[in-house]
Symmetry: C3
Subunit: 317 residues, 3 copies
């Protein structure tokens, strides 16, 4: 079966997952993002006409103001016409099927869909369905994938660490429910990171997670030892009570990233988080705001990476 | 009384209804839409500066993501500044009157209002109230009218059938509650269609519907016989239980468009639907996705028709 | 302590309050607004490129379609990219702090924040927090300030009365809960209005309101005598029942502006209201729509004033 993300010339057709995404395409996106980053703090050159006249539809079946905003800003800086659709309150509630909604938007001559959906596989389903001139970007589907987040994380790592082949990277937290973690693991291994660790209580790890090529730790002291990069995961509020976790306080005690636990890592280790942060739950404020944190750089880089993905899909630059 | 849709030179001032809209103006809009359609699949020429600097306000007192999106896309491809106002959650809930809200938006130097309202006559009321340099487009008012839907339907019919004067057209379904049906009937008769039929159970037909110049059928086999065009109507969910209809299943059995019922029509009959579709209620998937269906073309044509209406009102091209 | 609204060269850095805003800056904004007003009824010259490439974020923690729309229109006429964030339904509900939300938006290279928040001081807090290249406009914070409303009111007064130094101005209504009234009082006194009156029942006046430099009246006949300008305040629905007011009818009888009460003012007095109006509560329709009313001019001038504020902050023109 052909890779659903590539066209027959091997070029990026959709961005659905970092799983199966060739390293050369990831590197091209990171390189292109660097060129957008150069101008991003200067309004005079920040805006480029690469997507002028094109229509980007942000189709959010699951609410996320932050992610929607990053795509909206990226598309507008590329001069696209952007339409935001909050589908929760829309046609699907009128009994229309997902694919009928998509067909309708295609018929409006959309050029690109940015899709967020609570069900794993939704973006793939849409990508298989649309005409070849339409490009789909997965902005998060269920527990499955969030590839632009992973790519901006890779950009951040490369920015601070230059190379991937000599790194030890730890992913900490609720891997079980995290599309971010899955996408990070695939991206890190594809780009040649030799040692990827996951650190979590057993209840927050998928079964057979080792098959993804990661080393499993249940203890922060051991798991963080000598790592170069710490990727914190957000703990969803809804997990904090119930069967999986005793309490937020208990979680913080064992897995919250404090300065003390950070000291196990290399002194120049960088700390990342996809946001929004739960301060005092998965991360202590002293670390979030401390010298090792690159959390806000991730946000800045995220705009450049999303511009790079969109312009790659549109065939520009 | 002067036609409220025309200025004193007989030009289109507002688009409120297809009732009383002169045939020459309908034809001009369809002709202009054809020029927009030509470029619509090419982003390079899709965007035109006809409304550059103008402000289009989408004022939706009744939620409709789909219709709002089509107008938003049309206005942006004309280079207008577009502002979406979901008034349900806004000033009217603060006790302001409809006309005060409108006065305020006028004072912001709006150039065009696209109005959707649950009450019949709302767009007319607004049109009578605004200054002469402001244009109002009715995007659906109560059970009364939805003229851009009817015009895109006329465009679709002309696209596939070339002429109106030799057609037999059937409108099927809940005519009683349908602003779409009313607008279609007025447009079809104005453009010279010699035979317009409505097919529905008695409970879903307005009294005296024959006075609109249509032939009434209660049976699909007879009503669809030898028609060229089938205009399906959406069955509102809220009608499906209660006094008017026994059940969705029962409705589908008698009035749902299946391949079997479609076979009564001419072999090259086109099937249309304003969307969103209830598959298995008013239309069978085999027909919706079949060779006679032009439902998605309607959507594409709808953008071009709305661009044509807006640029006609703005005096362009 | 340095004025938090000015940079070290004494130029406007943020617009947070009319309190402490120098008269020369207010006058500069009014002068600049006049230049924008000149072109505002002509779409050809209405749109200017002063903020091209810049990103304006409308961050509304409290819903206000009307105010958000005026800023959106102003920013779009300056050619900015505008992103609307309705934060009620967003990250803060995911446990993120206000300042983390702000940090994230800053990291997206925002150039300007327009902030509406239900808590007094929110805009100040954000302004103190952001990097020096980012500008904050307070679009209303709690009961504290609404400076663009006050500036557009000053523009309106100057437009009709030419000078400030010879005026008698009355502010009528719920001063206690009104950020508009506070901002008006500071602006009027700064611009040299010699006599500012407030007229309200005791229960709707702040204690020690005289310290703001105003004269207090509880009676419309006395308070309105010979005034040049009447600034009506909106009566919030939630005040109309309960301890502060007997009823809307009773309020209207004593403080509602009728033609009879208006007759106490000078014959050429202007009547203003920030909207949305409660007709029959704080103002009678005969006055709202009468010859002394300049309420809709306020709205028109509001767009020009907001364009002036934004372009002043951005250093343009």
């Amino acid at each position: 079966m052909r890779n659903p993300q590539l066209n027959q010339d091997g070029e990026l057709q959709h961005l659905l997952s970092t799983e199966g995404l060739p390293a050369r395409i990831m590197r091209d996106i990171l390189d292109k993002a660097a060129t957008f980053l150069d101008g991003s703090d200067q309004p005079e050159i920040r805006k480029v006409p690469l997507l002028h006249g094109k229509s980007v539809f942000n189709i959010f079946f699951e609410n996320s103001t932050r992610t929607r905003t990053t795509f909206e800003i990226a598309a507008k800086r590329l001069s696209a016409d952007v339409v935001n659709l909050n589908i929760g309150s829309s046609s699907t509630s009128k009994g229309e099927t997902l694919l009928d909604t998509v067909d309708n938007l295609c018929a409006m001559h959309a050029d690109m869909f940015v899709v967020r959906h609570s069900q794993s596989g939704a973006a793939h389903l849409i990508a298989r369905h649309v005409a070849p001139e339409i490009h789909v970007i997965n902005a998060g589907d269920g527990r499955h994938a969030h590839p632009t987040q992973a790519l901006l994380d890779m950009f951040t790592i490369r920015h601070y660490k230059k190379e991937f082949h000599n790194l030890r990277v730890a992913i900490v937290g609720d891997v079980l429910h995290s599309r971010v973690a899955r996408s990070q693991i695939h991206a890190l291994t594809t780009l040649g990171v030799p040692e990827v660790r996951v650190i979590a209580p057993k209840t927050l790890l998928p079964t057979m997670v080792e098959n993804l090529g990661v080393h499993v730790y249940h203890d922060m002291a051991k798991g963080l030892r000598d790592v170069d990069v710490i990727l914190m995961l957000r703990l969803q509020n809804e997990r904090m009570q119930g069967a999986l976790l005793p309490s937020a306080q208990e979680y913080f005690k064992h897995y919250g990233l404090t300065e003390e636990k950070l000291s196990y890592a290399k002194p120049d280790a960088i700390v990342m988080h996809p946001g929004p942060m739960n301060r005092g739950v998965e991360i202590d404020s002293a670390v979030a705001d401390g010298p090792n944190s690159v959390i806000l750089s991730q946000v800045t880089f995220g705009i450049a990476v999303r511009m790079a993905v969109m312009s790659t899909l549109a065939g520009g630059r």
